[in-house]
């Protein structure tokens, strides 16, 4: 990966945006990179807005709060409205087409639209829409190899949840396929 990657992931509470960010930070930790994950916290509820920011860096991370991300992952319209202007010039926006329709995108950033919900439903479980988007992010940025994320799945899905590993791998893969790996 490049020297530093800053990403903001935002959506509704319940879409799994916190987990998406944590998975990136877990993968960074596994690869002995520096990383900071910061959640928005407040009186948040399911259906309310939620976001987290992740910094991954080869060097020591100073200011932990991400103000100008390299990448924004917007899972819904309010998130796009709130954060699109903050993306670095030439940065990347991954927009969840299932919930973000007729949006106006900046022309100085790269935009990838992905129908995450439909892709997840095709896989048999709407809940993995977040992993589809994470796959698209990995495919586009090459921040981590697919296998690094697989290792994280094996670490965090244990016991009863171990059966979810395959589905999540498939979702990741489907997302990567959208951006042509």
């Amino acid at each position: 990966m490049k020297n530093e990657e800053k990403v903001i992931i935002a959506g509704f509470g319940g879409q799994g945006v916190m987990l998406m960010g944590q998975i990136l930070s877990y993968a960074a930790t596994e690869e002995d990179l520096n990383t900071v994950w910061i959640p928005s916290y407040g009186p948040e509820t399911r259906g309310g807005t939620a976001n987290c920011s992740v910094t991954i860096s080869k060097a020591q991370i100073n200011a932990p709060v991400v103000t100008a991300p390299d990448t924004l992952i917007a899972m819904n319209e309010p998130s796009l409205e709130k954060f699109q202007s903050k993306i670095k010039k030439g940065g990347l926006l991954i927009s969840n087409k299932s919930l973000i329709k007729d949006a106006t995108f900046r022309d100085d950033i790269k935009v990838i639209e992905i129908d995450a919900s439909q892709t997840a439903i095709d896989l048999g479980n709407l809940k993995v829409a977040n992993m589809v988007v994470l796959g698209a992010y990995l495919g586009a940025t090459k921040v981590f190899e697919e296998t690094a994320i697989h290792k994280v799945f094996e670490k965090i899905f244990t016991g009863e949840k171990a059966k979810l590993i395959d589905l999540n791998k498939q979702a990741l893969n489907a997302g990567m396929a959208v951006v042509g790996k």
Binding site: Q22, S25, Y26, A28, T29, D32, N34, T35, V36, W37, I38, P39, Y41, G42, I61, N62, A63, P64, V65, T67
Partner: protein
């Protein structure tokens, strides 16, 4: 041990277990809830004691009781909760009981808000309890530094027979960062707790009493002087700080701690790219205030710029230490607003423009 990714609050909780914490008493409050949440499960698993008290006041008095029996005790809370515990903290100091208190600071005054703040500087360094007492107060910057300090704090509390308070802002409590919980730390060695009320009077041949009441003023003054001697020893031996970028002849030096110091580091890097060298004094122990740091600054320094996520509390300590030596300036955000490093860069440029006139 390899580094593990943990949330600040959980990492502090685990560090407490590793630091030998025998008992935890607390009451929920955002943004520190993951501390008791984590301990509610893991203390029992490690054969230790966890009690969710009925209030902050109850919790700090449980701390008093358990510390009096010789246990290593922890409580944690956030700003308004720490305010409620102040009476108990004064009693702990008066009775010379060791205890560790974690404050995950949020905006105030009053109930304030729940976003990260450093508005409790005065509360942790001056205290809100009555009487002539002082605390050892730490304000770490990263999760790694935080867990190391939490682990070591129990031995410091035992050594000085005094409460130790560790204050982090909500950001440190809430964020995840890789930490090594088994980094070697130097424990402060202290003798066995022969003063503890352990119910073994018969064996010992005398009763140990834990009291903070001394009705004879001469006796109380003697007690006060004994405490003062301890505080003087802390001042001599426990000042802890980091000097940053001092070997490039900076004219402006930041004074910042905790998350604000991390943001200031980004400002230092950004200014360096523009050919402007700025240094930083980063207090790690905020009480006793690291006066020694101010004795070693390069001759190039003209201005100390104190940076806080409050409207100027540590600034007063800087004023006391400064004794008119340097020009003092201040930048702060409050209420739970976390500043961007660009704001600090702008402040530095404004100062430099003023100086050039």
């Amino acid at each position: 041990m390899a580094k593990v990714l943990m949330k600040g609050n959980e990492a502090m909780a685990l560090a407490a277990i590793k630091g030998g914490c025998d008992a935890f008493f607390g009451y929920p409050i955002t943004p520190q809830n993951e501390v008791p949440e984590y301990l509610s499960y893991h203390m029992e698993k490690n054969d230790r004691i966890f009690v969710q008290a009925e209030s902050e006041v109850a919790a700090i008095n449980m701390v008093y009781g358990a510390a009096g029996s010789g246990a290593r005790v922890l409580t944690s809370s956030s700003s308004p909760g720490i305010a409620l515990k102040q009476e108990g903290i004064s009693y702990l100091a008066g009775s010379e009981l060791p205890a560790v208190i974690i404050n995950v600071m949020r905006g105030g005054p009053g109930l304030g808000g729940i976003q990260p703040s450093q508005g409790d500087y005065n509360q942790i360094t001056r205290g809100g309890g009555n009487g002539d007492y002082q605390l050892l107060a730490y304000a770490p910057e990263t999760l790694q530094e935080t867990v190391n300090i939490v682990k070591r704090s129990f031995s410091l509390a035992d050594y000085y027979r005094n409460p130790v308070i560790i204050a982090v802002d909500g950001l440190i409590g809430q964020m995840m960062e890789p930490v090594d919980l088994d980094q070697k730390i130097e424990e402060k060695k202290s003798p066995a707790k022969d003063w503890a009320a352990t119910g073994e009077a018969a064996k010992r041949g005398k009763r140990n009493k834990i009291v903070s009441l001394h009705l004879d003023p001469y006796q109380l003054e003697k007690h006060n002087l004994k405490l003062k001697a301890k505080y003087d020893e802390m001042k001599e031996n426990e000042q802890q700080y980091e000097l940053i970028n001092m070997d490039h002849d900076p004219s402006i030096v930041f004074v910042a701690y905790g998350s604000m110091a991390r943001i200031a580091r980004s400002a230092i890097e950004a200014l360096k790219k523009e050919g402007i060298e700025v240094g930083m004094i980063r207090p790690i122990c905020v009480h006793p205030f690291p006066e020694k740091a101010f004795e070693t600054l390069p001759k190039s320094v003209t201005t100390l710029l104190t940076l806080e996520m409050s409207l100027g509390q540590m600034l007063q300590d800087v004023q006391i230490v400064n004794q008119g030596r340097y020009t003092l300036d201040f930048f702060g955000r409050a209420g739970g607003v976390v500043p961007e490093s660009e704001e600090i860069v702008e402040k530095v440029k404004t100062i430099m423009k003023g100086a050039a006139k």
